[in-house]
């Protein structure tokens, strides 16, 4: 067995330190239970090492966790600090609490996303055996993986551009296996839609949040008229904030995650497509060599290698994609059910508050 989780995390100035905790009965580890401290860059290093490893070309590489981003939250806290003079002590403490809660939520999310990445790797029959993964889990010194410098980032960028240009090329090649053809078109569309949907839901949530902040200021003024009503709005506002947070978690995050995974699946298809092109080119080269009767042996070996590579990728890719679909459907089901249940819970909560407040107001005429 191999169980990995993030047991602790610390947020320092501009970096987060994750405590990766492993429990394992595998013989390759020195102990059965141990922990190391890792930073975001080291996760990225691990992910990239998978991507660059030819052996894993036939698998969907679990997407890398996104960089922890507290900038927006920090900015808001700073602005709050600057505006401290212009509001009452009560308002200030309330807003501070809210922003701190927001910061905490973002923090929890980034921990969760890093954890999910590790768990996916640990659950994958092949990737869990990867040496780099074991080093990542066990080596208790700094892995000294610096973040990519500008030049390397630029190289990456061009690689991506070439890949997408290539991708277009490769997509055009007629595929032998219909299954893969279908998957490719589906994933392409899906990927785009998910991107759109997640962007829209982000915006919706932001306006939902600002509405609740508004309501907050709204009620401190209403105090003059009906204390009860202002209390009501304070409570419903809290519920609305929770609704926004839940929608964020269940829907937006789900969509964002599957956006990344579907990209990883696309990458797999791309690699397979590439391998196919290489194989077909090798075939053509072999025919040419036979015709000229020159370098035939070399051409034969190249062709063999390409054939093997292609077949290896195809074999595992099919299963990977089926697994991906199963995982996706299950995740959507879980999240959509939970989303609906939470929405109901909050709506009922709101309803009750409104009913009781109305009861009181109508009662004392």
């Amino acid at each position: 067995i191999l169980i990995v989780d993030i047991s602790d995390a610390l947020s320092e100035r501009d970096k987060v330190k994750f405590t990766v905790h492993t429990k394992s009965t595998l013989p390759n580890f020195k102990q059965n239970e141990f922990s190391v401290v890792r930073q975001h860059e080291e996760f990225i290093w691990l992910h990239d090492s998978f991507v660059e490893n030819e052996e894993y070309a036939g698998y969907i590489i679990p997407p890398a966790p996104p960089r922890p981003d507290f900038d927006a939250s920090r900015e808001k806290l700073q602005k709050l600090g600057e505006g401290e003079g212009s509001m009452t002590k009560e308002e200030f403490t309330k807003m501070k609490q809210e922003l701190e809660a927001e910061y905490l939520a973002i923090f929890k999310k980034t921990v969760a996303m890093h954890e999910v990445f590790l768990c996916r790797v640990a659950a994958h029959p092949v990737l869990r055996k990867d040496l780099n993964f074991h080093v990542f889990l066990e080596y208790n010194q700094d892995l000294s993986v610096r973040g990519k410098n500008k030049k390397e980032k630029l190289e990456d960028f061009f690689k991506n551009v070439v890949k997408s240009a290539d991708g277009v090329l490769v997509a055009g090649v007629k595929d032998v296996d219909d299954f893969f053809e279908h998957e490719k078109t589906f994933l392409l569309e899906y990927h785009n839609r998910v991107k759109e949907a997640s962007a829209k839901s982000d915006r919706k949530i932001r306006s939902h949040k600002s509405k609740s902040v508004n309501g907050f200021l709204f009620c401190s003024l209403l105090n003059r008229f009906f204390l009860k009503v202002s209390e009501l709005f304070e409570k419903t506002r809290k519920i609305e904030a929770r609704v926004a947070a839940d929608e964020d978690l269940k829907l937006a995050d789900l969509l964002k995650y599957y956006l990344r995974e579907s990209q990883a699946a696309k990458d797999l298809l791309y690699r397979r497509g590439r391998a196919l092109v290489d194989y077909e080119n090798a075939n053509k080269a072999l025919d040419k060599a036979r015709a000229k009767n020159k370098d035939v042996l070399q051409a034969e070996t190249t062709q063999q290698v390409c054939c093997q590579k292609f077949e290896k990728i195809s074999e595992s890719a099919k299963q990977e994609l089926i697994d991906f679909k199963t995982r996706r459907v299950a995740a959507f089901r879980k999240n959509l059910v939970e989303l609906a249940e939470l929405e109901l819970k909050h709506a009922k909560g709101n309803l009750q508050l409104l009913q009781s407040c109305l009861g009181v107001l109508k009662g004392d005429t």
Partner: protein
């Protein structure tokens, strides 16, 4: 004993080009005996309402009555309607104005003293050619504001601090000032709440569309169906948000705007009382001067001018008595008016807030229905 008025938009645009105007049907139901019948209907236009206000203000503000102010002219709003712009903001503007005029008129006829004014009776009941004769108000925007502000002539012009005998007035005016401040702030908040809700509704609509598209490209049938159901739910929620936004607006925001204007009128009647006091004081000073003049004449022994001086003293003594009585009368009126205003305001706000909360309640009930319908779909995903 009641009198209630209802306003219906009769003709959206009548007249030609830029001179076009909206005509309203004003229907009154009443049990008051001063009217000849129990129900009647007349046609009026916006400028008629303004004209009514002008008349009432002229006659009654100086006596300390709180004359309800009408809604403001809106050149932009009217121009859009005239130009025939077919957009939702025009429709909103038209309804907003109608509702505001209705509330204005209802306040006027609910005022027991103003209702006695024949001009009010004529406005509600007089049928023909009303539009052309008495109440045409051709004031520009600036002129209109000036008219409203006439009633609230700057207290700052008063250099003498009033020796307030009755502490009630001092406290009251302070209360009114505070209240107006708070209401303005609240009004701004509600407006931004309305905007946010509209934005939320817009985003929800867009989101619903993209979820629908996502559902259509999903090849697992159950998930695909669930996603398109989700899209439908979000669509309905968007509708809900839209309605709630207009509710927020019409129930709350407009109420606040009305009361901000009304508080201005309340301040106005305090000012009128100040003026009355000033008049009385000036008369007292004049009387004093005349008495001093008389004394001087006595001393200088000029018997011929003496009679004139005595006459003037008598004249000013009478004026002082008159102005003092007027001041006391206006103080009593202001006091009564403000107490009545406070009661009405409390009732108004309470009623509107209850209405608003009920609309929020409905929204939540709808939300619950939608999500309850969706849950089984989500659970059916396999």
């Amino acid at each position: 004993m009641f009198c209630s008025c209802e306003l219906i938009l009769f003709l959206l645009l009548t007249g030609d080009g830029m001179n076009a105007y909206m005509a309203y049907k004003v229907s009154t139901q009443t049990s008051l005996t001063m009217f000849r019948s129990k129900t009647f209907t007349v046609r009026r236009r916006f400028s008629d309402f303004l004209g009514l206000y002008e008349k009432l203000s002229e006659k009654h503000s100086q006596n300390g009555y709180i004359v309800p102010p009408p809604p403001e002219k809106s050149i932009l709003g009217m121009t859009k309607v005239k130009v025939g712009k077919e957009d939702p903001s025009s429709a909103e503007f038209v309804e907003r104005r109608r509702a505001a005029l209705e509330r204005y008129l209802q306040r006027v006829v609910s005022h027991p003293s103003l209702l006695q004014d024949p001009d009010v009776r004529d406005f509600a009941a007089c049928i023909d050619n009303y539009v052309l004769c008495l109440f045409v108000c051709a004031l520009s925007g600036a002129g209109f504001l000036k008219m409203l502000n006439k009633a609230t002539d700057a207290v700052s012009k008063m250099t003498i601090k009033m020796n307030e005998q009755d502490v009630w007035f001092d406290e009251k005016i302070q209360d009114v000032e505070n209240e107006e401040q708070h209401m303005r702030k609240l009004h701004v908040m509600v407006e931004s709440l309305v905007n946010h809700r509209k934005e939320l509704s817009g985003n929800t609509a867009v989101f619903a569309k993209s979820v629908a598209m996502l559902g259509s490209s999903e090849d697992n049938t159950a998930l695909s169906r669930a996603l398109s159901q989700l899209a439908e739910v979000e669509d309905r929620i968007e509708q809900l948000h839209q309605e709630q936004a207009s509710n927020d607006f019409f129930t709350f925001s407009e109420l606040l705007a009305d009361y901000i204007r009304l508080l201005g009128a309340v301040k106005g009647c305090f000012d009128q009382r100040m003026k009355a006091w000033q008049r009385w004081q000036d008369a007292e000073n004049m009387l004093q001067k005349k008495r001093e003049a008389e004394a001087k004449l006595l001393w200088a022994n000029k018997p011929d001018k003496l009679q004139q001086a005595k006459d003037e003293i008598a004249e000013w003594e009478a004026k002082v008595t008159q102005y003092e009585r007027e001041f006391e009368r206006i103080s009593a009126t202001v006091r009564k008016e403000v107490i009545r205003f406070d009661k009405e305001k409390a009732r108004d706000f309470k009623r509107q807030i209850v209405k608003y909360l009920e609309s929020l309640l409905n929204s939540q009930q709808q939300l619950i229905k939608y999500w309850e319908a969706f849950l089984p779909e989500a659970k059916a995903i396999a």
